[in-house]
């Protein structure tokens, strides 16, 4: 009799979803209003920018690379938009320019990484310094976005109001659209599958005739776009830009991706998992805010422990599947 076998590749993402529900359950049991839909919706509103950034990070990690420039690009685009609006530009032009810069910057990073076979870690590290500094060149001070028609339109007219103070803001819709597009891209398109092939074994992918260079550069370009879009969302969310924003956000994004069940060495995992990774991070923060007694630095420790647990699980799974393929 053959037992029902749960596919090994679904284990990490199931664990992520399980962790999410456990944390959510803990919240509901501990606090009276934790289960209210408003808390759940706010989870998305507060973490939309992180989620979008995590999508790009997830794709890059799937190729076996890493992108450390995420937080800096968010800070740069948000301050760029705020500055341009403050100097009288049209907000739409500012947003478009920010996105184009993000795309070009991602492309540049991908080009350097692929064409000169520089370590992704180093290139995006330098990129992080560079773009953070560029943010300070734009403005060293925080700039607010006041009375801009486009931002007001996004704020007031594109929000889905469910009543009782529950508002699904436009940034959440943007996040979900990007997420669905990324899932479709990674699962159903040729380029998306190439990402997995490269992440699993770059040499084998090259030998199979997969356009490794093009795919890698494209992935970093997408990551740059996602970061820039996250910056736009962040500017909309805060209605301000600050070059000091999001210091270390790249690590949150990486942690979300790892907790989302993606193998950091590449090739294994789902973009979909990053959603739950981000939600788990957000839930932990919400829990700590609800409690009020626990200090916020516990967030980092808990996140670190979660990352560790997932790394161990991934390691175990990799070993088991290796042992299986050997025994066959």
């Amino acid at each position: 009799m053959k037992k029902f076998k749960f596919p090994m590749r679904y284990v990490p993402i199931s664990a992520t979803i399980l962790v999410f529900f456990i944390v959510y359950l803990i919240g509901i049991i501990s606090f009276e209003n934790f289960g209210s839909p408003k808390v759940f919706i706010d989870l998305f509103v507060d973490n939309a920018y992180l989620g979008i950034a995590a999508i790009g990070t997830a794709l890059v990690i799937l190729t076996g690379g890493i992108d450390l420039s995420v937080g800096s690009i968010i800070a740069f685009t948000s301050i760029l938009i705020a500055k341009m609006i403050a100097t009288g530009s049209n907000a739409l032009v500012a947003i478009a320019l920010a996105l184009v810069i993000g795309i070009l910057f991602g492309m540049l990073q991908g080009w350097l990484i692929h064409c000169f076979s520089l370590p992704p870690f180093l290139v995006t590290l330098a990129g992080m310094f560079f773009i953070r500094g560029c943010g300070f060149i734009v403005s060293e001070e925080s700039i607010g976005i006041k009375n801009d028609p486009v931002f007001n339109f996004i704020q007031n007219d594109l929000t889905i109001r469910l009543g009782k103070g529950m508002n699904i803001r436009f940034i959440v819709i943007v996040y979900i659209i990007v997420l669905i597009a990324a899932i479709f891209f990674s699962q159903r398109t040729r380029s998306g599958r190439s990402i997995y092939a490269i992440g699993d074994n770059e040499l084998a992918a090259t030998l199979m005739g997969i356009p490794v260079g093009r795919t890698k550069i494209m992935t970093y370009t997408i990551a740059g776009f996602c970061s820039a879009l996250a910056g736009v969302v962040y500017a909309v969310y805060l209605k301000a830009g600050n070059p000091l924003n999001c210091v270390g956000l790249e690590m949150d994004a990486i942690a979300a991706v790892v907790i989302g069940g993606t193998l950091l060495t590449g090739g294994v995992g789902y973009v979909f998992g990053s959603l739950f990774g981000v939600l788990v991070l957000g839930l932990i923060q919400t829990l700590i805010v609800f409690d009020g007694r626990i200090n916020s630095w516990w967030t980092r420790i808990i996140v670190g422990l979660l990352v560790l647990a997932f790394i161990f699980m991934q390691n175990l799974i990799t070993k088991i599947s290796k042992a299986k393929s050997k025994s066959q």
Binding site: F116, F121, L122, F130, N295, W298, I301, G304, I311
Partner: protein, 414 residues
């Protein structure tokens, strides 16, 4: 490429970059190379500095001979404040600057200042070089620095309050306790990293990510989220005092460098590291305890991070868990890579890493002296890093060569 006959070949590019930078400074910055030997005024005589008549530009009027007494104190703090405003909350506390000086003489000047400020990255780079040589990486050193600084500051504040064993020894002696505690804790952190990497076989980048994420939380746990300040003379001396003409921190760097060199070049340890970095499995078959070697490099790296954490805390006389050592792991890695150590592992150059660290610090200091905002310093830094990496990349060299020598291009550089 042929096996380099020149022992110092790896140092060429970093040294050339450094020389260019220094040349730039020699031409465009006044008094850059002016090093003053000044006798310490133990009687703390009335300071009557001739205030410079021209309006003091923060960059160029650094430590000029006329105003060194006041300016060196105030601008050092100011420079620190400026530097820290990039991400750290500086403590605008006037340094007393009267550390113990053995012969009563100080060397003052920008080059000395570069060495002093760069000491943290230099110390980190020594440990990082060994880790990278095994093919690993340690991105948690910044967080470990924060932990080390936090425990040192906590213990010294407890000792000052008399709440800890050893408080009876008096403040001139008991500062040893926090130093040892910080080093032990940092070494333990390195042990933890080593355990994950060598013991459990997790990828180094991933394994050290855990401590990088959680480490600052731990540091804040230690300090209870506070920024603990201290003014114990012994602890402050580490990064602000002078001994034998040079800042004490420079002596720490020299001592650690000499120890590391002896350890790696006079024993088989260095060879083992390179062997493991080249091919771990082959080394294991050859009878080298590859795991133990890797583990040990992480422990050493943790120890170095502890020293750097103490220096960082000592420099600003406080432990700031959020910002101590922020991004310094990146500086340390950059210093190592600039110094010619390959990220893939297998060969390492401690001297190169030190030169790399000095290069980074010189660049930073040059920017400050040219009145560049500290936040923007990151831009040229990043460009230098990319350029140096490109120069070291064999692919880039081949491509450039193929452009210059058309014959080579026909040879088919892919």
């Amino acid at each position: 490429m042929n096996k380099s006959s020149n022992k110092f070949r790896h140092l060429v590019w970093p040294l050339v970059s450094l020389a260019l930078l220094l040349l730039f400074n020699a031409i465009f910055t006044d008094n850059f190379f002016k090093i003053e030997v000044k006798k310490q005024d133990s009687a703390q005589a009335v300071q009557t500095p001739s205030v410079p008549t021209e309006s003091p530009q923060p960059g160029t009027s650094w430590i000029t001979p006329e105003n060194y007494e006041t300016v060196s104190d105030s601008t050092e703090t100011a420079a620190q404040t400026v530097k820290d405003s990039a991400g750290q909350q500086a403590v605008p506390e006037k340094k007393d600057g009267k550390g113990v000086s053995i012969f009563g003489y100080y060397l003052y000047g920008t080059p000395i200042d570069i060495l002093n400020q760069g000491s943290k990255v230099m110390v980190l780079a020594i440990g990082m070089t060994l880790v990278i040589a095994t093919g690993g990486i340690d991105i948690s050193v910044g967080a470990v620095m924060a932990i080390a600084g936090a425990i040192a500051a906590l213990l010294i504040s407890m000792l000052d309050a008399g709440n800890c064993i050893g408080a009876g020894m008096g403040p001139s002696v008991y500062w040893i306790i926090p130093v040892i505690a910080a080093l032990v804790l940092a070494t333990l952190a390195g042990f933890w990293n080593g355990m994950l990497v060598a013991g459990f076989g997790i990828q180094p980048m991933v394994a050290t990510l855990v401590l990088m994420v959680a480490g600052r939380g731990v540091a804040q746990l230690i300090t209870d989220g506070q920024i603990i300040t201290f003014d114990n003379p012994g602890l402050v001396f580490l990064c602000n005092g002078h001994a034998l003409f040079l800042p004490f921190s420079v002596w720490i760097v020299i001592a650690m460098y000499v120890i590391a060199c002896l350890l790696t070049r006079k024993t088989a340890f260095g060879l083992f590291i390179e062997s493991v970095g080249n091919n771990e499995r082959a080394s294991r078959y050859a009878g080298i305890e590859a795991r133990r070697i890797k583990w040990l490099t992480y422990v050493i790296c943790g120890f170095c991070a502890g020293v750097a954490g103490l220096l960082a805390a000592s420099n600003i006389k406080c432990a700031d868990s959020n910002n101590a050592g922020l991004y310094l792991e990146l500086d340390a890695i950059l210093a190592t890579v600039i110094g010619g150590t390959s990220m893939a592992g297998g060969r390492f150059f401690l001297s190169g890493s030190l030169v790399g660290a000095i290069l980074i610090q010189t660049l930073t200091t040059t920017m400050y002296m040219k009145n560049v905002s500290p936040a923007i310093v990151a831009v040229p830094k990043a460009m230098v890093v990319i350029i140096v990496c490109l120069l070291q990349s064999p692919v880039f060299r081949a491509k450039v060569l193929s452009i210059f020598a058309s014959k080579a291009a026909k040879g088919g550089v892919q």
